[in-house]
Amino acid sequence: MSALNKVGEYTLLMQKVLTRPDRFRETCKQIVREMNNLGVSSIIIVLIISFFIGAVITIQIRLRVDNPMLPKYTTGLVTRDILLLEFSSTIMCLLLAGKVGSNIASEIGTMRITEQIDALDIMGVNSANFLILPKIVGLVLFSPILVIFSMIIGIVGGYMVSIFTDLITTDNYLYGLQTFFVPFYIKYSIIKTLVYSFLIASIAGYYGYYVKGGSLEVGKASTDSVVMSSITILIADLVLTQLLLT
């Protein structure tokens, strides 16, 4: 029953969020600010994680798939597909749910407990729309850039393995990257990320917006938002994979 209440509350909140802003100019400014706060500030962590995961996937594939029946370019091919299909979208968004989701929930939650949201409401501003919409739009607009960076740097990580170790030759790795390449995988990955970004920002916004109490509750809301976003992302992954790839 409590879960159903939450779904209902979330839906009603989204009705308030996804409306025409009171002042388009102010919302645009907020969107740019959020793209910087949520997106640009996440680039470094995305690049670092993608580089190392790309390198580790390459090593693991090379070590586990050691079968003379398989062509030598298999490592590059499998690394590419793992990065494009799952890592750069789903795993990266799970990481973003931790970093960005907790940031959004704690920021909005603190605004709630310090009466800043009440101040907006009393001024006649649609506080849900003013606070949450720019975060959703900012993250959704910036996430494809993060995905593309993640894909490129992940592949570079694998390439570095081919240069600095003797596990795989550079030629085999590069050949593997180009073999049986399906351009739709990039589109698929970006579509998934757009959905995940919406879920991360809106769920975190929901948990922050309805905080009651003090700093402990803000912390709890922040944790709950990360847990709920992660679960929702995994469910959405299953649904989107079924819808887009079968």
Binding site: R23, E26, T110, M111, E115, Q116, D118, I122, M123, G124
Partner: protein
């Protein structure tokens, strides 16, 4: 003028406000006083429209808040300024941006005009050259004054103050009280202040409404409050020794005059 007619509010079968009727006049500082849990915050929330009473009328110059549609409520809120207990300044904005915020949202002024208006409001509350600072960098008293400046940028007709002196030293409290009083008279605003600070009551109480257990127990001015014979009111205001002494002096003076 804000007029309340038989306003009642219930939470889970508990009547928090019991048929409150009173009026708050413009140009006066109207104080709502009462013990913690007496219902004064709920009353203020009902007047502002953050809560909806089950019964009664809340008339803003003849316009009943409870009969307004969403658009009318939105328009009314632009006539309202609010000073929160902990100032509620936006942390992500500078002091100047905080004061400019209502203008950014609701006026069609150009940036220069908005900035000039915001600076004049900051000047009005005696704050100069702090526009570039963030709320975290200024003191509690300054925050209250910035919040007052933000509340008056749109030249409101109604000003609500929730515990404006909480967390302030006595000297700063008096500065804030005087500022609220001056602004109320200058702009002819209907000001309602929620407080349990008796110094504030004696400084600012043009019209005082005493709420006890959700019921309007006493209504009058600061001149009459000391000599009132209402037992519940006396229990509340003479809880401190200071005011017991003030009462004795006042009675002594009256006897001398008599």
């Amino acid at each position: 003028m804000i007029e309340l007619k038989s306003v009642s509010k219930t939470f889970d079968d508990k009547e928090v406000l019991k048929s409150i009727s009173t009026s708050f006049l413009p140009g006066q500082t109207n104080l709502v006083i009462g013990q913690s849990g007496s219902g004064k915050t709920v009353l203020m929330k009902c007047i502002i429209g953050l809560m909806t009473p089950e019964k009664g009328e809340i008339n803003y110059d003849g316009r009943n808040l409870l009969n307004m549609n969403r658009q009318e409520t939105k328009m009314l809120r632009r006539e309202i300024g609010m000073l929160f207990q902990n100032s509620a300044l936006f942390d992500s904005l500078t002091v100047l941006e905080n004061v400019m915020f209502p203008l950014n949202m609701f006026s069609n002024m150009r940036y220069k005009e908005r900035a000039e208006r915001a600076l004049s409001c900051l000047d009005r509350v005696n704050l100069h050259d702090i526009g570039h600072l963030s709320p975290a960098e200024i003191s509690g008293g300054m925050k209250k004054r910035v919040a007052i400046a933000r509340a008056i940028t749109l030249k409101p007709k109604y000003l609500f103050c929730d515990e404006p002196n909480s967390g302030l030293d006595p000297k700063t409290s008096i500065v804030i009280d005087q500022l609220i009083k001056e602004i109320t008279q200058e702009y002819n605003i209907t000001t309602i202040i929620n407080t349990h600070d008796m110094n504030s009551v004696m400084e600012n109480g043009d019209n005082i409404v005493f709420i006890h257990e959700g019921k309007l127990e006493w209504n009058g001015s600061k001149d009459k409050i000391i000599t009132s014979s209402n037992k519940k009111l006396n229990d509340f205001i003479f809880a401190s020794n200071l005011f017991k002494k003030v009462k004795n002096i006042e009675i002594g003076l009256m006897e001398d005059e008599g």
